[in-house]
Symmetry: C2
Subunit: 105 residues, 2 copies
DNA sequence: GCTGAATGTAACCTTGTGGATACGTACCCA
DNA sequence: TGGGTACGTATCCACAAGGTTACATTCAGC
């Protein structure tokens, strides 16, 4: 849990996850998508790996990274403890506001 | 979003949020509940404030902190992009496991 | 086996972070 | 108005984090 939230705190790492959400990608592809050099990306990938957020599979010289969304379940469960709070907040009025914010009619 | 996730990356700050989930609390009360000295707690509270996760209200010399759960909505929405992935993962089997884990009916 | 490609690791540097102690400030009360 | 209380802020320090360049490693193909 701590490792996962720590991993999510960095924007580069979130970008990696967002890419992997669509498709698996090699380390090189991910590095091209980020504004930093490859070694930095490599280390970000290590953090993601150790947090259980991604899996790696070797394909010749390339390392293909895939998302492991299950790792986010624990974050979702932690958030769940708060979800009812913001859902109940101020009752119907707040609900109305939230609805307008997320989906303008 | 970045500020919120950054705030959540620290365990002390998450502990503060968990306390405020039950009830508002003064800075002193929060400091007592944490293993660190008061000035450190003060700075944690500042981070939480700047991330919009808590509100402060002054009561004489005391500062009463309350939770602002709405700040977590954006995290929930970000997570939502991934939720369907882990829910669909491996189909019904995975669904069954997730259901058992949450100890629903 | 050698070469180039893809990637991880090591070493290094700068900045950010979280802890502590010391100090400043605002408030209530006598 | 002087003192105690409850905070926040400033400063300092140790260490973690994230970036870079240089090097090591592994693999495919000739």
């Amino acid at each position: 849990m701590d490792a996962v939230l720590h991993a999510l705190a960095d924007e580069s790492r979130r970008t990696v996850l967002d890419i992997l959400r669509d498709r698996p990608a090699s380390a090189g592809e991910l590095a091209e998508a980020l504004p930093i050099a490859r070694p930095g990306v490599s280390r970000h990938l290590r953090v993601l790996r150790e947090a259980g957020l991604v899996d790696v599979r070797q394909d010749a010289q390339r390392r293909i990274y895939t998302l492991r969304p299950e790792a986010l379940v624990e974050v979702d469960e932690w958030l769940g403890e708060y979800r009812r709070l913001w859902e109940n907040r101020l009752g119907a009025l707040q609900t109305e506001i939230a609805r307008g914010k997320k989906a303008r009619r």
